[in-house]
């Protein structure tokens, strides 16, 4: 595909991801409300929130870095999304996938949080740095099982290309890595709980402890940018997981179903548990998920 249409298609894809990310947020809020016995907000509420935040007037100034942080955050989300093929076989939705995209994706997952760390620290509110340090600690912890799971898949497939990993899983659900390498999947999906920051791993925002963590000082347009970043980042993660473990998608509806299920997994757990303390969360990821990750890698090694 020529470059120009590709760029245009990617832009459409980003907007689509944003829309989907916001919508899924709305659906999840509705579901959460139902389990709590409430009616809940309309499904389109996140769009309204975004629009509202764009209509507010900014009244803060914490320095250049803090202005840039949301851009980093959104950039991280969008960047990650752009690296991952959404529907394999449809060039318009394959984005800028290339042979080493998995490595790049692993890096981009850090990108947003690091940018946030720089900006939030400058915002001056003590809750921000505390939240950042919590977030980075937890991230480091869940990256370990996730990385082990990815290593297992890479070793299994013999490629760093998401495209190839997806291709290797074609031919029915029994070929999915979820079945092929269940230990790595367990490690990765437990890590996903931390990645998606629902309870019991929502220690970064933790309203009862450090309200609301890193974005404490961000408002209006900055906050909308953060919302954009969060929505696209969530979509990108889900797509990545879908590609890695659920055999990717061959059509958009399939992608929607699979990504939603992946997202719902974290909500399913998050709705009914309180939150861990920071060190408990870290211990959790360094415990069974890591063991499962190591075992997953070993399984691949032994199978060769």
């Amino acid at each position: 595909m020529p470059l120009l249409p590709k760029i245009l298609w990617s832009l459409v894809g980003v907007l689509g991801a944003l829309a989907y990310g916001l919508a899924i947020g709305g659906i999840i809020r509705k579901v959460m409300a139902r389990i709590q016995g409430r009616i809940g907000p309309p499904v389109w509420q996140p769009y309204l929130d975004l629009g509202k935040n764009l209509s507010l007037r900014t009244a803060t100034h914490h320095g250049v870095m803090s202005f840039i942080a949301p851009i980093f955050r959104a950039g991280g989300g969008i960047g990650l999304y752009l690296l991952i093929p959404v529907v394999v076989g449809v060039p318009a939705l394959e984005n800028f996938s290339f042979s080493g995209d998995l490595l790049m994706a692993m890096y981009f997952m850090f990108f947003g949080s690091l940018g946030m760390a720089l900006g939030a620290a400058e915002a001056g509110h003590p809750h921000s740095p505390i939240g950042i340090s919590r977030g980075l600690s937890q991230m480091t912890a869940y990256e370990l099982p996730f990385a082990l799971a990815v290593v297992a898949l890479v070793a299994q497939t013999g490629s760093f290309s998401i495209h190839e990993i997806v291709a290797a899983q074609q031919g029915g659900w029994l070929h999915w890595n979820l079945i092929q390498n269940p230990l790595a999947a367990v490690a990765a999906f437990l890590a996903f709980l931390g990645m998606n920051m629902y309870a019991p791993f929502n220690i970064v925002g933790a309203p009862q402890e450090i309200p609301v963590g890193p974005p404490t000082e961000f408002n209006s347009q900055f906050l909308s940018l953060l919302m954009v970043g969060r929505a696209t980042f969530a979509v990108a993660k889900m797509v990545l997981y879908m590609d890695l473990f659920l055999g990717g998608a061959t059509s958009l509806p399939e992608a929607f179903v699979k990504t939603f299920l992946i997202y719902f997994w974290s909500v399913f757990v998050g709705a009914v548990f309180p939150r861990f303390r920071t060190e408990q969360a870290i211990r959790f990821f360094l415990g069974w998920p890591t063991v499962a990750g190591v075992a997953g890698v070993l399984l691949v090694m032994l199978n060769r």
Partner: protein
């Protein structure tokens, strides 16, 4: 390490007054080392309305609408205690009709139930679980519905006055209480148990956290679920019997551990106990008879000089009223001694050093700190 270095490593952090994790409009000035609090000072006064001062310039009947504001979740204890103190000082206590005593017991138990439902939700709510607080607040709201039916108001009932209560029990109240409140609470409790006491995360967060040493109990005057979680069966309803409690059949709930989990468990058990007590009360309440003694003209009533201290068991612990009269139509002094005065200031400040920052909010909830009671 020198002092300067220690100070440099400490971060000062204000919990509140604008903080979702704080119980009401108060604040804790805390110093952090890493994730651990090394020192905390309770700051109150954000809700200071000078109740005691205002009551000194209000007539006795006019004090009733104002006392219930001292504790928002549980106003009836205040109303009852003021009534009890003034009745004792004026000699009216002998004339309170039987039915009024039963209704007062009912109202106190309902308010305990409502408050404990709220706190039980708060226990996990403060740890970030939204489901249970939503349910318990709903259940509490069912109790408030019945309060509204009985007293005419949802939150501030202004229902108990000296001589008895202000209105009779409505027709069919007992049935509605059973079907609309008690049955619903009992149906939901097992699921709440699953989500709290059987939850591995809650157990991890709560067991062994915020332990109050047993030897503090006597000298500090710790009361309520906090002291019962130490295994000490201390309950004003048994120790200083009042109203119809001596005639009711119940045991003081105790457990061991003295941590957040134990206190939550005590509250859970006391909800069941309250439900049972309300059933007993409604079953045994006389249907006929007056609900209030004949009162003199409240605009001019005077009470002979005297002083007394009365107490009752609120959901938080022992609530006491010290009332001094001087023969005029107003109180000379009224001092409200709420359990939070000790729990929320002295005890909390002693418990804070060594507590994880994440545990402060659950700790405060488990002590059921109620700031209006501290500053009044």
């Amino acid at each position: 390490m020198t002092t300067t270095e220690t100070l440099r490593r400490r971060v000062q952090l204000w919990f509140g007054p604008q903080h979702p994790g704080i119980t009401g409009n108060m604040s804790v000035q805390a110093w952090l080392e890493g994730d651990t609090l090394t020192q905390g000072i309770t700051h109150v006064g954000y809700l200071h309305r000078a109740f005691e001062k205002l009551m000194e310039r209000r007539k006795f009947i006019q004090s009733f609408p104002i006392v219930c504001r001292i504790c928002v979740p549980e106003p009836d204890t205040n109303e009852y205690l003021l009534a009890a103190a003034l009745e004792e000082l004026s000699g009216l206590d002998r004339e309170v009709p039987e039915k009024a005593l039963w209704i007062r017991t009912l109202v106190l138990e309902m308010s305990r139930l409502a408050a404990m439902l709220q706190v039980l939700g708060g226990h996990v709510g403060s740890m970030g679980l939204g489901v249970v607080p939503n349910w318990t607040y709903t259940l509490r709201d069912y109790v408030l519905d019945r309060f509204e039916e009985l007293t005419g108001a949802r939150v501030y009932h202004m229902y108990t006055v000296f001589g008895g209560v202000r209105r009779d029990l409505p027709e069919g109240f007992a049935e509605r209480m059973e079907t609309e409140v008690l049955a619903k609470i009992e149906a939901k409790l097992p699921v709440i148990d699953n989500a709290i006491f059987d939850s591995s995360v809650f157990r991890k967060r709560a067991i062994g956290v915020g332990v109050v040493p047993e030897e503090w109990a006597d000298e500090m005057g710790i009361s309520g679920p906090v002291v019962r979680a130490m295994g000490i069966p201390r309950d004003t309803r048994k120790d200083f019997p009042y109203l119809k409690y001596p005639e009711l059949d119940f045991e003081v709930v105790t457990t061991t551990g003295s941590d957040i989990y134990a206190r939550a468990w005590i509250r859970r058990q006391e909800i069941a106990q309250s439900v049972d007590l309300i059933r007993q009360i409604l079953r045994r309440m006389p249907t006929e008879g007056p609900y209030c003694a004949k009162l003199p003209n409240m605009l001019t009533w005077t009470i002979p000089p005297g002083q007394t201290y009365v107490r009752a068991e609120a959901s938080r612990g022992e609530m006491g009223y010290y009332v001094v009269t001087d023969g005029s139509d107003k109180m000379r002094r009224v001092h409200v001694r709420g359990p939070s005065y000790v729990h929320g200031v002295s005890l909390l400040e002693r418990l804070i050093p060594g507590t994880n920052i994440a545990d402060l909010s659950p700790l405060m909830v488990s002590l059921q700190t109620c700031p209006p009671e501290i500053e009044r």
